[in-house]
């Protein structure tokens, strides 16, 4: 029981990271209708920018202020990466046929991976723990201690705060309204005076900023990054977005949590080698029985 509770804590904190990345996928998919394959690599860039930010601050600032500064720095730079990727690889292909942006995105993903590998080297980058400590919740009869580490708490709090801000942005601001309008009907939104190009670019920018938060938290949690982390994390997050119902923002967070929990529990109770198989197998099962995901809208077939 205590063991399961500990897995729940681990699963939720992992799932939050997936959820943050998944929001970027699902937002872009909802608005432009394309799989932004390079999004996982934008997350990786975010982790690297955070690493560089941490090293820049080393010695000068530390504590919560440092983490906040790094977070802001990573969000800013990574958002620009997201925007640049959109401008170079996707914008010229707007209105083109469906597979063209997908191939362009796969190409961009290869470019980003190899760019970071060339610029930063292919060796893994370890950092010492930045947020040490934790809190023991309780000890069960066998002496098994259930604990929440400080970084896990930080992940949960940061993610909730960022997602709350994001929700306000989507539901309460003119920009959010424009985004929802473009998602529903791009042509009509354009006719009603919404700058659709700018809205789409901003969706990429916001998605990249959220991915940067995920990258920063990932770096702080695991302490090791390399240029290849974006691939697996990206696929898992995309799986999460599909699981939650692609296009649905709460669905992405829910899907991320589920994938995180499935992965953690599977590695705890069955086998750690097959944890990715578990995530994908459950995805396939869900799609067979719930083809639009958990919170997705029923797709209307138009003739």
């Amino acid at each position: 029981m205590a063991y399961a509770l500990q897995q729940l804590v681990n699963g939720v904190s992992l799932g939050m990271i997936y959820g943050l990345i998944a929001v970027g996928y699902t937002m872009v998919y909802g608005i432009v209708g394309m799989i932004n394959f390079a999004h996982g690599d934008v997350f990786m860039v975010g982790a690297f920018v955070s690493l560089i930010g941490l090293l820049l601050l080393a010695g000068g600032v530390d504590g919560p202020a440092a983490i906040l500064l790094v977070l802001v720095f990573a969000m800013g730079i990574t958002a620009m990466y997201g925007l640049a990727v959109e401008r170079i690889a996707y914008k010229p292909l707007r209105g083109s046929f469906r597979l063209a942006p997908l191939i362009s995105a796969i190409g961009m993903s290869i470019v980003l991976q190899n760019y970071v590998q060339l610029a930063q080297g292919s060796r893994v980058k370890p950092i010492p723990a930045v947020v040490p400590g934790g809190l023991d919740i309780f000890t069960d009869a066998n002496g098994f201690v259930v604990s929440i580490s400080a970084i896990q708490a930080l992940i949960v709090v940061t993610t909730l705060a960022v997602l709350a801000g994001f929700t306000v942005l989507v539901t309460r601001t003119p920009l959010g309204r424009a985004m929802r309008a473009v998602e529903q009907d791009r042509k009509m939104a354009g006719l009603l005076g919404v700058d659709t190009n700018r809205t789409i670019s901003l969706a990429f920018l916001i998605g990249a900023a959220l991915a940067a938060v995920a990258g920063c938290l990932y770096l702080l949690r695991y302490g090791v990054i390399d240029f290849f982390i974006g691939f697996v994390a990206g696929i898992k997050a995309f799986t999460a977005a599909v699981l939650g119902g692609i296009g649905s923002l709460p669905g992405a967070v829910l899907g991320g949590l589920l994938i995180g929990l499935i992965e953690t529990f599977w590695s705890a109770y069955f086998s750690i080698q097959y944890k990715d198989v578990a995530a994908f197998a459950i995805l396939i099962l869900v799609l067979i029985f719930l083809p639009t995901g958990l919170l997705g809208r029923q797709e209307v077939e138009k003739v």
């Binding site: 998919y29 799989i35 860039v45 690297f48 920018v49 560089i52 930010g53 090293l55 820049l56 730079i77 620009m80 990466y81 925007l83 640049a84 170079i88 690889a89 010229p92 292909l93 083109s96 046929f97 469906r98 597979l99 063209a100 942006p101 997908l102 191939i103 796969i106 190409g107 961009m108 993903s109 290869i110 470019v111 190899n114 970071v116 590998q117 060339l118 610029a119 930063q120 080297g121 370890p126 950092i127 010492p128 696929i235 799986t239 599909v242 692609i246 086998s271 097959y274 990715d276 198989v277 994908f280 197998a281 995805l283 396939i284 799609l287 067979i288 083809p291 797709e299 077939e301 003739v303």
Partner: protein, 423 residues
């Protein structure tokens, strides 16, 4: 005009500076104490930013010069050229081993390119003809390769006995994948096939008792010339002894070259013939509009399953060939990157165009080999080329399409007018 161009380039350079300063300008390297430290490289950043500035100016200049001629859009003439290009390419491929400049290295590249041509044509059945987006095609390649390797090593079966078995096994896996995804459409299908490919790779990686895990399977038997083995010893019963020629290692390479050429041409022949038959037309109908196809009485389930099965079969055959050529396979060779490259070849070539796929395989894989000296840079260039080709020609190199069946004269449909790919 000049002012706005300069301002535009200035903005691009400023953005580039923001992007490059952290990632390129500050390299993280382990310092004396072992902890990571930053190494500034701002000279490089300045160089890159200058390159972006002038590159942007050149692009703006090119756009402004091209604009006046927009009325007379030059049509891409490859379909007309194709009448001569296809036989010419085929002749070149057939004669390649006999050219004086052809050495071992050129033959190896030829084999590699032809393997991807075959994989592209195989995937084209699924993506180009039936319109089912498959991101896990490499799984069938892997199934074929492992089927051959395991059958040959465990039961001592010859290559020629294993080849159809490998194709059959991969085909069965294709049906197995096809069944659950029948109801899925578009991007859901893409992610499930991607997951399927990853599952196969992870199982191959971890099922150590069967596949030897990450160490792979080595010492896979080489193919024989219809029962005559290639050996350097010139003993009775070997290829060189039977034909009375000097034994040489090139003979086997030439044989492998013709083997993959024959397999690729078989794939091509089957897909061209099937396109003219009810099954192929049903595939194309399904790609254009699934609902209309169903309304016209096409059995959607069987049509999709045959596309998956046939595409997978050819992937399996190519996999068996890969195993016998390399004599060593490991899960390393069957990553998602391979799937992406094969799909890129199909889309860059122009969906459904046999010639376009052959040309794009030649350009991408051959070009990739040309950049071998660039080492780490070549994957970056490869990805960049993918983006660039898509931006310049979103429909692929041969995007035009001629109807397979037509009443009266056949009219080529321009790439811009093809509205497929919705499903």
């Amino acid at each position: 005009m000049k002012g706005t161009a300069l301002r535009d380039a200035g903005i691009a350079a400023a953005v580039a500076a923001c992007l490059f300063v952290p990632i390129v300008g500050l390299r993280t390297e382990p310092g004396q104490t072992g902890a990571l430290a930053l190494q500034p490289r701002f000279g490089l950043v300045a160089l890159l930013v200058a390159a972006v500035f002038f590159g942007r100016l050149v692009i703006i200049g090119w756009h402004s010069r091209r604009r006046p001629a927009a009325g007379t859009k030059p049509r891409f003439v490859l379909p007309e050229v194709g009448r001569y290009a296809a036989p010419a390419l085929l002749g070149f491929a057939l004669l390649l081993p006999f050219f004086p400049f052809t050495g071992r290295y050129e033959l190896d590249i030829g084999i590699l390119v032809l393997t991807y041509v075959m994989l592209g044509w195989g995937l084209n059945i699924v993506v180009g003809l039936a319109g089912l987006l498959d991101l896990g095609y490499v799984a069938f390649y892997a199934v074929g390769a492992y089927t051959y390797a395991l059958l040959a090593q465990t039961f001592g079966l010859s290559f020629w006995a294993c080849l159809p078995l490998a194709g059959l096994t991969a085909g069965c896996w294709g049906v197995l994948l096809g069944f659950p995804v029948l109801r899925l459409r578009g991007d859901y299908l893409a992610i499930v096939t991607l997951g399927f490919g990853e599952i196969i790779r992870i199982v191959l990686l971890n099922w150590t008792s069967l596949t030897n895990g990450p160490n792979g399977i080595g010492g896979i038997p080489r193919p024989s010339f219809f029962g005559l083995p290639f050996s350097s010893g010139n003993e009775p019963g070997s290829f060189s002894h039977f034909f009375g020629v000097e034994p040489s290692s090139v003979q086997r390479v030439v044989f492998l070259y013709y083997l993959i050429l024959a397999l690729a041409l078989l794939t091509n022949w089957v897909s061209i013939r099937l396109r003219r038959q009810p099954l192929g037309r049903a595939w194309e109908a399904l790609r254009e509009d699934e609902i209309a196809a169903r309304a016209l009485g096409i059995n959607v389930r069987n049509t999709k399953l045959t596309a998956f099965a046939l595409g997978a079969t050819f992937g399996g055959l190519a996999g068996a060939f890969f195993a016998t050529r390399a004599a060593f396979i490991s899960p390393e060779s069957f990553t998602f990157n391979e799937s992406a490259i094969i799909l890129a070849i199909v889309v860059l070539g122009g969906l459904g165009s046999q010639l376009g796929i052959a040309i794009s395989a030649l350009v991408m894989i051959g070009g990739f080999e040309l950049f071998r000296d660039f080492g780490e840079w070549r994957m970056l260039i490869f990805g960049g080329a993918m983006v660039l080709i898509m931006v310049l020609k979103p429909r692929g190199l041969v995007g035009d399409r001629t109807p397979t069946i037509a009443l009266g004269a056949r009219k080529t449909i321009d790439a811009g007018l093809i509205s497929q790919g919705q499903g």
